[in-house]
């Protein structure tokens, strides 16, 4: 069945759910107990996910830790999970950030703590499920089900205009999701028409060789869902609202994990299922990615609220990821995947730091700060390191990812790299300018003098992230190696299928005429 002979992935997916039940069951009048239960379960999940790395076989592109049980046999729905080099790190990132996010909420959440931690744990289940599902039906269930806890998280524990942000987030993401649902159904019936088998199994559906127009329509149906989630320009407008209004832990998971679902969706579904369309549309997507990079950076530059600055910087960074993925070479794709992790770490940490500052001063306006280094050096140090990682300073994680992406983009088309590189410069501008205004200079405000530096718990929250930031920056090999085989296989698949189709032109292949009306 799999290399462990144990359904480890299911265990990881449902452990947080069990945790949510446990949190709801404990006595709500004892907040310490609630927090401890939540943290216990999220750390258990993190621990349980470590064997994924330890037992991961880096030399194969096949799905590992596979679980496959028929679920609704008459419809060909399987309960099917598995990870490969592409999803391995995303699963680990999710378990890691979830535990950190829960630990970071200790003092920030004072109302309805019990429900809060339960919702966080349910969210974790949904997020992990998205990354491990290899059956399209199962994937869709996790993809949509995860919306509800995030919606509640923003809507109940968020900032002043949280309801607007929560509803906007929900409707945007759902709109994309339902189009993907129609795409999934169409793919399912096309596959049945070609092979005579009803299945939602991704691995089976990947064998399908669709004609170009079918690929194009299905690619669009799937990609709108992913593009909204990434978010790619021009679908990004929900992001600043949701990020700014969400509670700190919500922003961390939103930026750290949820956005990656979009880029992950492209790598996992859009590229291998519809390679010809992906290749045909790659220049448009790259153009949108570059617009996102530059636009996100420019908008970050003018933000007065540091949380908004970080939010818009995500648009820019995710543009890089998309650029790398659509360069269709190993540097670009590996860089893109690594950059997903990097962004999760550094932007997650930035949101955590901003949240800590907000807890102390109840403001996030850059103008209210200045000279923080003198008042809270430890805090400022953390902010400095994380910001530099976000900029992509050599020696820190961001550099490795951005460098690989730019190499990949250059190999594909030097213009892509040239435009993309402006984003690196701009990110240095907005980040350093922010640092200069907040951390350095004179300590002017009275209120800032009495600030307390990081507590032991807060150090515990940030330290693991900072360690990883250095580790990936200095020695990225252990992180890149597991994804090597999978990315090579993916690229081979995208290229070979693409070439067959170029030779065949846009003729439908093996699809009965009666079915062609499905996508015309």
């Amino acid at each position: 069945m799999n290399q462990l002979g144990f359904p480890l992935l299911s265990a990881i997916v449902y452990l947080p759910l069990a945790g949510a039940a446990a949190v709801l069951a404990v006595d709500g009048r004892n907040p310490a107990l609630v927090k401890a239960t939540a943290f216990l379960f999220s750390s258990l999940t993190l621990l349980a996910s470590l064997p994924l790395y330890l037992f991961f076989q880096a030399d194969t592109a096949a799905m590992q830790f596979v679980e496959k049980v028929p679920w609704v046999e008459s419809l060909g729905i399987n309960y099917q999970m598995g990870i490969d080099g592409i999803s391995l790190w995303l699963v680990l990132l999710t378990t890691f950030l979830s535990a950190i996010a829960i630990l970071s909420s200790w003092s920030a959440i004072t109302t309805r703590a019990k429900e809060y931690y339960a919702v966080m744990l349910v969210l974790e289940t949904g997020m992990i499920g998205v990354f491990v599902a290899t059956d399209l039906f199962l994937f869709y269930v996790f993809w949509e089900a995860m919306l509800i806890p995030m919606y509640l998280l923003i809507g109940i524990w968020g900032g002043p205009s949280r309801i607007y942000a929560a509803v906007k987030f929900f409707l945007y993401t759902m709109a994309g999701g339902v189009l993907m649902l129609v795409g999934i159904l169409a793919l399912y019936f096309i596959n049945h028409a070609v092979t005579g088998v009803y299945t939602f199994d991704l691995l089976e559906l990947r064998k399908l060789n669709l004609d170009f127009w079918a690929q194009l329509w299905l690619f669009l149906a799937f990609s709108v869902a992913f593009a909204i989630k990434v978010p790619m320009f021009p679908f990004h407008t929900w992001l600043p609202d949701a990020h700014v209004e969400a509670p700190t832990a919500g922003s961390v998971l939103l930026a750290g994990v949820l956005l990656k679902m979009g880029t992950y969706g492209f790598v996992r579904f859009s590229l291998p299922l519809f390679p010809a369309a992906a290749r045909e549309l790659s220049s448009i997507i790259a153009a949108l990615a570059i617009i996102g990079i530059v636009y996100g950076a420019l908008v970050s530059l003018v933000q007065e609220d540091v949380k908004k600055l970080v939010a818009y910087s995500s648009v820019s960074h995710l543009g890089f990821v998309m650029l790398g993925l659509f360069a269709f070479n190993s540097q670009g794709v590996q860089g893109g995947i690594l950059q997903m992790i990097n962004h999760g770490l550094s932007t997650g940490a930035l949101f955590l730091i901003v949240g800590m500052l907000y807890e102390r001063r109840h403001t996030r306006m850059i103008a209210d700060f200045g000279g923080l280094w003198k008042a809270i050096p430890l805090f400022s140090m953390a902010l400095l390191v994380v910001s530099l990682a976000s900029i992509g300073l050599p020696g820190l994680n961001g550099f490795v990812g951005e460098f690989l992406i730019l190499v990949g983009a250059f190999r594909h088309d030097w213009l892509w790299a040239a435009f993309g590189a402006t984003g690196v410069i701009l990110s240095a501008v907005y980040m350093l300018w922010m640092l200069q205004r907040m951390v350095f200079g004179e300590l002017k405000s009275q209120q800032n003098q009495g600030l307390r530096d990081l507590s032991a718990r807060e150090v515990l929250v940030l330290a693991p992230i900072i360690v990883l930031i250095f580790l990936i920056g200095v020695y990225p090999w252990p992180f890149l190696k597991p994804m090597e085989a999978s990315t090579q296989a993916l690229l081979a698949e995208v290229k070979s299928k693409g070439q067959v189709l170029v030779l065949d032109g846009i003729q439908a292949e093996g699809i009965p005429m009666a079915r062609q009306d499905l996508y015309r």
Binding site: R112, A145, L147, L171, M174, A175, L179, Y519
Partner: protein, 455 residues
Amino acid sequence: MDFVVPTVDLGSIAPALLVLATALLVLVGELFTAPGRKGALAVLALLGVAGATAKSFLLWGQSETAFGGMVALDNYGLFFGLIFLIALGMTVLLSVRYLDQMDMDHGEYYVLLLLATFGMMLMASGTDLIVIFLGLEILSLSLYVLAGFARTDLRAQEAALKYFLLGAFSSGFLLYGAALTYAATGTTNLARIVGFLAQAGVAGNPLLWIAVGLLMVGFGFKVATVPFQMWVPDVYQGAPTPVTAFMSVGAKAAGFAGFLRVFLYAFPALSVDWTWLLAALAVLTMTLGNVVAIAQGDIKRMLAYSSIAHAGYLLVAMASNSQAGVSAVLFYLVAYAFTNLGAFAVVVYLARQGQEALELSDYAGLGSRAPLVALAMTTFMVSLAGVPPTAGFVAKFYLFGAAVEAGLVWLAVIGVLNSVISAYYYLRLIVIMYMREPSALLALAESTVGAIFKI
């Protein structure tokens, strides 16, 4: 002219007869129960429901026709019968306390509910336009009275009158459609209509098209598709809440039972003509229901428009005109029945002596006042919106799957986009329950009754 005495096979409609017998028993029993103790009649009604349900399970899998082909005993009819019985059982459970609170604890109430269910079951198993019409009339007449059951309430009177006038009007359409069908084909029996059309073809028979059009209008009124939906919001708002729940689930399912049986079984020869019409109606119905629901401030009106939208989704499956479409309709109706009855159950549960929680603002802060009820309501809303992992999602999945399989991708796209619109107003209730502070005072005691609603 020969006169053949049709074989009388009561066994084939046993579940419906059990419901009818219970109705008569309750009617008699009403005489012997003192005012204020009518709850005993509810128990009797529930026993009848249980008996009919058991009988339906026993008959499951059989397939025969009775009464000279006017009634069929098949899984289709039994399945619908079970939906009606679920709706009836839950409505009776909801009604006991409600009737007491609203001071209208009269025994006829249960009689009328049972009779309406009898009509529904007749409609679902009828294979002759006359029987279907009879079932529809029994159902409708009972519901007209039930809609106006709150005698002293002006709004209920308006609802009942409006329902009666429009309902009678639509019955007229249906009957005229049946009559023209008879004129065109010489029979009202569905099987013989199929036989006639197979032989004679459909060309050169304009009466037939008019007949099909009229039947569509008649059924359209009953299931509330656009443009025949105007009565829904007022009637749903004015009727006693448990009756609204019953109508929104039972009467709608009954309408679809007849609609499906007649169109998919008797008129497939004309399907080229009516599928696109149904598709167009589906688009209009979904969109109007959902868009107008957004503007509602009264929860019963909101659920009324939502039920119009759901009729639109069901039309999508019907327009697919396939076995998959029929299965999708059946599954969808079950999921919808539980979800919608649940939602109305919460509304009933929150009612207090002589006064109901009908404004959306009455739900503010419910998340902290009554967490279990709010959680239940959240589940129902999420399911109505069709978000996984709920029954509503699986139902929509089947439904749009049927549409995509039939090549109606555009219709499926419009359908799913409509569920996004619908998510807006379903979510709004969640927003109000969890994210707004209570404006009113209603302090609710947590009670175990809440558990019943989750069933």
